[in-house]
């Protein structure tokens, strides 16, 4: 059955080298099984041979992947497989962890983000992040959203800042719920609203890429559905990378899926393909719930 699906996959999708001749991803010798998109878009973020160590322990082994622009890429895999670790290398959040170091290369629009001349602060303004647990600042709703634009000097006047706050909250689908209480504390909102506030906070600085680290794991199904709708809307303007434990969620929101296991990127490809006809046995076992 496995070989059958593999053949089917190659039949459905053209060989990689022919579609994106400039990309070296499909010609490299790795253990990762890759299936390219039918019509691959331009690549925004690309990682090559990324390994991450926590002290002596290696958490990630030579991960290479391309993240296409204006789409949702999902990272799935069992707990401790390194998917969140990899996500955090994309905006250098791992820098803040004591004893964490990485090798390999990650580029954003072709520029190395680990270049010593690049300020991680600037990088994080371009690559926003939404965390697992909603973590609004203990300040007002307005201040939560306005903080990023303010420190980056993105607005010249109060009215400009007001309009950034409004449009960010609108994009995050929260405006109608909070427009009359912008001065109330961000922590007084419900869990789902808090997470949308965090998304609004992330998009207020107009990042190019948004990283989401299990953004719905602390939310109820209704709030989750709202966030997923939101992700679907946001992908028209932003490149989104999402880590999720829920395979249904990955199937619902993402265009491409990457499966991690024990620090290795096992398989990556178009989401519908990964979920209907995975090539690797481990991928299949995981998505059918045999482990994880």
């Amino acid at each position: 059955m496995n070989t059958e699906t593999k053949q089917e996959a190659t039949a459905m999708h053209m060989p990689a080298e022919k579609i994106v001749p400039q990309s070296d991803l499909y010609t490299r010798e790795t253990t990762t099984v890759r299936t390219p998109d039918e019509n691959p878009g331009p690549v925004r973020v690309s990682a090559r041979d990324v390994s991450v160590f926590y002290g002596q322990k290696q958490a990630l082994f030579d991960v290479s992947i391309d993240v296409p622009e204006k789409s949702v890429t999902a990272f799935i895999g069992p707990s401790g497989c390194g998917k969140s670790t990899f996500l955090r290398t994309l905006n250098r959040m791992n820098d803040t962890i004591e004893g964490c170091r990485m090798t390999g290369k990650i580029t954003l629009d072709g520029a190395d983000i680990y270049d010593p001349s690049l300020d991680p602060v600037e990088l994080r303004a371009r690559v926003g992040m939404v965390f697992q647990k909603p973590n609004p600042f203990p300040k007002s709703i307005y201040e939560n959203v306005a903080y990023g634009p303010r420190i980056h000097g993105l607005s010249r006047s109060r009215s400009e800042l007001d309009s950034i706050v409004e449009s960010s909250l609108q994009k995050a689908g929260l405006w109608s719920e909070v427009k009359d209480r912008l001065n109330e504390g961000g922590t007084s909102l419900s869990g789902g609203q808090q997470q949308r506030l965090c998304i609004a906070r992330a998009i207020a600085v107009s990042p190019e890429v948004i990283l989401m680290d299990e953004p719905c794991s602390a939310l109820d199904p209704i709030a989750t559905a709202r966030i997923e709708e939101l992700i679907d809307e946001l992908k028209q303007n932003y490149t989104i990378v999402i880590v999720t434990h829920s395979m249904q969620q990955a199937a619902r929101v993402s265009q491409r899926t990457a499966f991690f296991h024990l620090g290795n990127l096992v398989e990556e490809g178009p989401t519908d393909l990964i979920f209907t006809s995975p090539v690797e046995k481990r991928t299949q076992d995981y998505i059918t719930g045999r482990f994880g």
């Binding site: 004591e98 602060v121 926003g128 939404v130 973590n135 203990p138 903080y147 420190i151």
Partner: protein, 457 residues
């Protein structure tokens, strides 16, 4: 009667009845254990509260009487026979200001030379007609500082000459003791502080209404005094303590908070910072008298700062308070959830922005509490102050932090050792009440600010 939850199943079937029996048997034991623990807790709290209650009631019982003192209201006649001075000089048209000043000073000197004791004595004997009493005994019931009051009144208004005015004067400490019963009335004459006629006179004035107990405001407005113990107050010590508090707050809070922020958030974690951390913790355990020695050696001997100055006291107490503030601030910073730091870093805040915009504001209540505890501790500290000369007798109220001064706890220590035990025992407790009141006020401010800061979230 069967237990209401006796299972309806066949007990033999799955052994559930046996299991239930065992659980119930252990339940009794567990509940008894819990009751025992609660009883221990309540007993511990009751004991602690009991000791506090005993302490407070003793201090209040001893100290409250000191807030009222005997006052003697007399008709004082500025008799021209005794007050024999020329008229107050008037500035002549051709007289220079300096000459006029000199003339006035001359006149004031002459006024001081007047036998004011005689004026006082006449006022006393006039109020008690028919009592045969020598002048020494008569004067012994009025505080020695009061004759200067009469002089000052006359200097302020020379028109009093020949007039009779009602003047309320402090009774002497000895008279106060006698009237309050601080000294056993049945003791023989040789063991009494006042002579028999003076005691009789004091009692007579008390019965006649000339002598009354009134609230002793001068405790809060006067400096310390030895020659006139009844007029001794703790204003000097109070102001000295306030200056020291100011120095501690101005120096210890910024230095302590900044050190803690740097060590916790920015400093690399290595052997050197570990060494610093260990030393800060050790510093917190150094006996306060050692800080006093350090202050004497460094601030007074090396930097030549004045002795007995609240500035030096404040510096010593700052050194003592720093470890408290650093340790408390660090633990407050450590308690901030990492998600907050991540949130700030995630939107592109720099390390410094993350710390100062988000992490530090969350720790304000903790830092505030630590500051108040540290300042309260410093306020009550006595030992280091003894070594930098703040136990000196200082009669005036310090105008600046560089003037010699005492401090509230040192004042308590000095009064506690005063030779006029009967009088100063109550004074000591009164000073303790003032010090405790100040501490309670500080704590109330801390609680209020804390509640406000926490509400703002």
């Amino acid at each position: 009667m069967a237990h209401p939850f006796t299972p309806q199943l066949d007990p033999a079937a799955d052994g559930s009845a046996e299991r239930l029996k065992r659980i119930r048997a252990s339940l009794g034991k567990r509940h008894a254990q819990e009751r025992r623990f609660r009883a221990y807790g309540i007993a511990a709290i009751a004991a602690a509260l009991g000791f506090v209650a005993i302490l407070f009631s003793m201090i209040l019982y001893q100290g409250l009487p000191a807030f009222t003192q005997a006052n003697l209201t007399l008709d004082v006649n500025f008799d021209p026979e005794i007050v024999k001075v020329a008229d107050r000089p008037v500035q002549a048209p051709d007289q220079s200001v300096a000459d006029y000043r000199r003339a006035v000073l001359d006149w004031e000197r002459k006024v001081t030379m007047v036998n004011w004791n005689r004026v006082l004595e006449k006022a006393i004997t006039a109020a008690a007609p028919g009592v045969d009493i020598d002048s020494r005994a008569a004067l012994s019931i009025v505080e020695t500082s009061e004759r200067f009051r009469l002089r000052d009144m006359f200097v302020a208004d020379p028109g009093l000459l020949g007039k009779t005015v009602k003047v309320t004067m402090l009774a002497s400490a000895n008279a106060d003791n006698w009237l309050k019963g601080n000294i056993d009335r049945s003791l023989p004459d040789a063991q009494q502080q006042l002579s028999a006629p003076a005691r009789a006179l004091a009692d007579k004035f008390m019965d006649g209404g000339q002598m009354r107990f009134a609230f002793a405001w001068h405790i809060f407005t006067n400096g310390d005094s030895r020659s006139a113990p009844a007029s001794a107050g703790l204003a000097g010590a109070f102001v000295g303590s306030l200056y020291m508090m100011l120095v501690v707050i101005v120096l210890a809070v910024p230095i302590g908070v900044m050190s803690a922020v740097y060590l916790e958030e920015f400093a690399p974690k290595n052997k050197f910072t570990d060494f610093i951390e260990v030393n800060i913790n050790n510093l917190a355990a150094v006996p306060s008298i050692v800080f006093g020695l350090l202050g004497a050696a460094v601030f007074i001997n090396y930097f030549r700062l004045p002795l007995s100055a609240p500035l030096v006291g404040g510096l010593v107490l700052t050194l003592m308070t720093l470890p408290t503030i650093i340790i408390a601030t660090r633990s407050a910073l450590r308690a901030v959830p990492p998600s907050l730091r991540q949130a700030a870093l995630g939107v592109g805040a720099s390390k410094t922005q993350t710390v100062f915009h988000h992490v530090l504001p969350v720790t304000y209540p903790g830092i505030l509490t630590a500051t108040i505890i540290g300042v309260a501790q410093a306020l009550g500290e006595t030992a280091p102050l003894l070594l930098i000369g703040m136990n000196a007798f200082v009669a005036q109220i310090p105008g600046t932090p560089l003037d010699p001064s005492s401090a509230l706890p040192v004042q308590i220590y000095l009064w506690q050792g005063n030779e006029n035990r009967n009088f100063f025992e109550a004074r000591t407790s009164a000073a303790i009440i003032v010090l405790l009141g100040l501490m309670l006020m500080l704590n109330a401010i801390a609680i209020y600010l804390r509640a406000r800061l926490e509400r703002r979230k």
